[in-house]
Amino acid sequence: MQNKVSVKGLVKSFGDLEVLKGMDVEIEEGEVVCLIGPSGSGKSTFLRCLNRLEEITAGTVVIDGFLITDPQTDINTVRENIGMVFQHFNLFPHKTVLENIMLAPVELKRKTKEEAETRGIQLLEMVGLSDKAGVYPAQLSGGQKQRVAIARALAMDPDIMLFDEPTSALDPEMVGEVLQVMKQLAADGMTMVVVTHEMGFAREVSDRVIFMDGGYIVEEGPPEQIFEHPQNPRTIDFLNKVL
């Protein structure tokens, strides 16, 4: 069976600056992969290439069998199956929590209004915010916003979820509630790619950890191997600094 995500020779440049210098990554269905590494190493850029929020300079990216680097591919259809959660939540401030969640399924005619509402309430229960359905994002705490953002991404019933530093903009006491939801999602078998600085989460939840530096994959493997027995000196150096 084909892998959920298959990246070959991915290069991404911003003008003269080459941010990703040839990445090869295979991700299986149900796998939870954490990307770690210093700032500027290209982790977020790599993640954003997976749903083509960044135009890809060279290489191929296949998601769910769709070659998204092909301009002929309808990227919108592919994106419907890829949920994304952002560092700064990016909730729609002019819509209530429930409207945020219902917007895409209804607009893209994947669900009727009633179905989307039922599913939205279900998702809010899952993230522990069923009492916030009619509230506007401005009235929520950071942790609550991020949980709504996760629910919104799930409303399209995606089979891959991308997380771009989902807890980096949160106050420390709110990190746990978001990670809890993500753990639940991982346990339910969601394919997840997570850019994170939460080493505890990476160690506990992920199936595989990828350490990136300078636009390359420096080292990858199961979390025990990366955290207990890192091989590359750069990995060792990074882990010494953050742990």
Binding site: R79, M84, H88, H94
Partner: protein, 218 residues
Amino acid sequence: MTILELIAENYARLLEGMGRTLLLTFWSLILASVLGLIFGMMKAARGKIWHILSSLYVDVIRGIPVLVLAFFVYFGIPQGFGVNISIFQASLIVLSLNAGAYMAEIVRGGIQSVDRGQMEAARSLGLPYRKAMQKVVLPQAIRTMIPSIINQFIITLKDTSILSVIGYADLIKVAKAVIARNFEAFRIWLIVALMYLIVITVLSKIAKAIERRMTYAK
């Protein structure tokens, strides 16, 4: 003659002139809003051709005085192309083109004031660009645009007075005709000024009320 008698004698004609001023303003603003939305969105879009086209429109209009544009459209175009344009049509074209260029800048600024993450979040859910623009970015952009739009509405209302030079029978032209008959320049222009002031003040108050109702806690 007291000022009250002066008003009693001429109010019907002056109000008629004001009516035509408002009529022209109303239709110009509708057309200008459409133009502004189209060209403003083109300017905010990524495509280079769109950007050049809308910049061209905005720069050309901004670089020409309304008065010159009015003469060009009403006297120049009929001669150059052999078409007939009525005074109202010419006035409408001039004001719409003019206000449209400024509205385009307002729309562009409004769209660009919305955080990039909003568009990205909408696109990541699978919404096509147009839907994301329509459902997510524009509703937020319009809120920040409202004060500038109100300002442009008032400027356009005042700009209608320029069209009296090509013969549009607005408040100014009516007032001139009245004064030609009774030589009451001081008091008639005073009345005209007050009429503009009242109408603009009332419109501003209505607009402010709309603005308050549309704002939300950030």
